[in-house]
């Protein structure tokens, strides 16, 4: 099976901590941070490397601040 690597970048200063991305993440890769941004919201951060780049978080994000990358590595036969 092909191995999939995903990664996300969150623009933390624009994040409002609504937690919608955390709810929709199938791999439980996202969580709220312990610290706050300049607006006073706890922001969304990536807590592990399980991300598959499915882009669910980016699609549901009301602020459109999540950028998603995905790399599929095909195994040599």
């Amino acid at each position: 099976m092909a191995k999939v690597y995903g990664d996300i970048v969150v623009d933390i200063e624009k994040c409002k901590g609504c937690e919608l991305c955390i709810e929709v993440c199938p791999e439980n890769t996202l969580a709220l941070s312990e610290v706050i941004n300049k607006k006073g919201y706890r922001y969304s951060i990536k807590i592990n490397d399980n991300c598959t780049g499915c882009a669910n978080c980016a699609i549901i994000c009301p602020e459109a601040i999540i950028t998603v990358y995905r790399k599929v590595e095909k195994k040599a036969v």
Binding site: D7, T67, V68, K71
Partner: protein
């Protein structure tokens, strides 16, 4: 099957343009949205702008901003926008579309704007079969003025002006604008969607894409209703508000196409 090992390729390694699968549409400006956390307006803005980017019609689209929470839509959408008087977005769109028939024209309105003060303009624009698209955000309260009862408030729903819940004997029944518009011969495409789950966001986006294509063919008035949340005025967290949309609003406002043109 996922393992918890550190990504062998390194996290920074795949942050390259060739592996990009999703980024903020260029048709949205870099301005921070003023909406409350978790508000459906943000998602609706985003999918509308994604559609405009994908169809490559940024230069030829004119949007009409309403009065309501989304009054500053022209700050966020990087296209030509015009602010309308309260409720008069469809009337203004009519004028713009008739003078510039080769442009794509859409209005973006909330329920206070479209279903209360602007009902006449909306229904007559639909009845005349104006070749415009209306995106109707239905969250059941007046969000901008701090949560008063709207025509679309559900029976029994608590708002600041119906503190014991909406009583249909006293305050009437919620207005289903989309069902009303669907009965008019001038309306070409009337559909109801929501943006509370990823699947529904994708469906709403496809509907918007269809609507712009119907407008290109000149089929008539298109209305896309988006059943939305309002976490601040429903006094809920965004997740609870989305659950409310799922459990209470969608049974009253069932999703799906109410009217669809026959595609040639």
């Amino acid at each position: 099957m996922t393992d918890n090992k550190i990504n062998e390729t390194g996290a920074e390694d795949i942050r390259k343009p060739e592996y990009l699968v999703y980024q903020r549409p260029r048709t949205l400006t870099e301005t921070e949205l003023h909406y409350c956390p978790g508000c459906s307006h943000g998602v609706a803005h985003k999918i509308l702008m994604e559609v405009i980017e994908e169809l490559d019609i940024q230069e030829t689209t004119i949007g009409i901003a309403p009065v309501g929470c989304s009054v500053f839509a022209y700050h966020y959408m990087n296209i030509d926008m015009q602010e309308a008087a309260h409720g008069r977005a469809c009337a203004l769109a009519t004028g713009i579309k008739r003078t510039m028939p080769d442009k794509y024209v859409f209005t973006y309105q909330g329920d206070g704007d479209l279903a209360a003060i602007g009902t006449a303009e909306t229904i007559h624009a639909a009845n005349r079969g104006e070749n415009i698209l209306t995106v109707f955000i239905n969250n059941g309260v007046y969000g901008m003025t701090s949560g008063q009862m709207a025509p679309t408030t559900l029976p029994g729903m608590v708002t600041t002006t119906s503190p014991f819940g909406r009583d249909v004997a006293l305050q009437g029944h919620p207005l289903k604008i989309s069902d009303l518009v669907a009965t008019l011969p001038g309306a070409a495409y009337v559909t109801r969607h929501s943006v509370h789950t990823v699947a529904n966001v994708r469906k709403a986006k496809r509907a918007m894409k269809n609507a712009f294509e119907y407008q290109k063919q000149g089929l008539g008035y298109c209305l896309i209703e988006i059943v939305s949340n309002c976490p601040s005025n429903m006094k809920m967290t965004p997740l609870e508000a989305n659950k409310f949309v799922e459990e209470k609003m969608i049974p009253y406002y069932p999703l799906g196409d109410l009217k669809k043109p026959e595609v040639k």
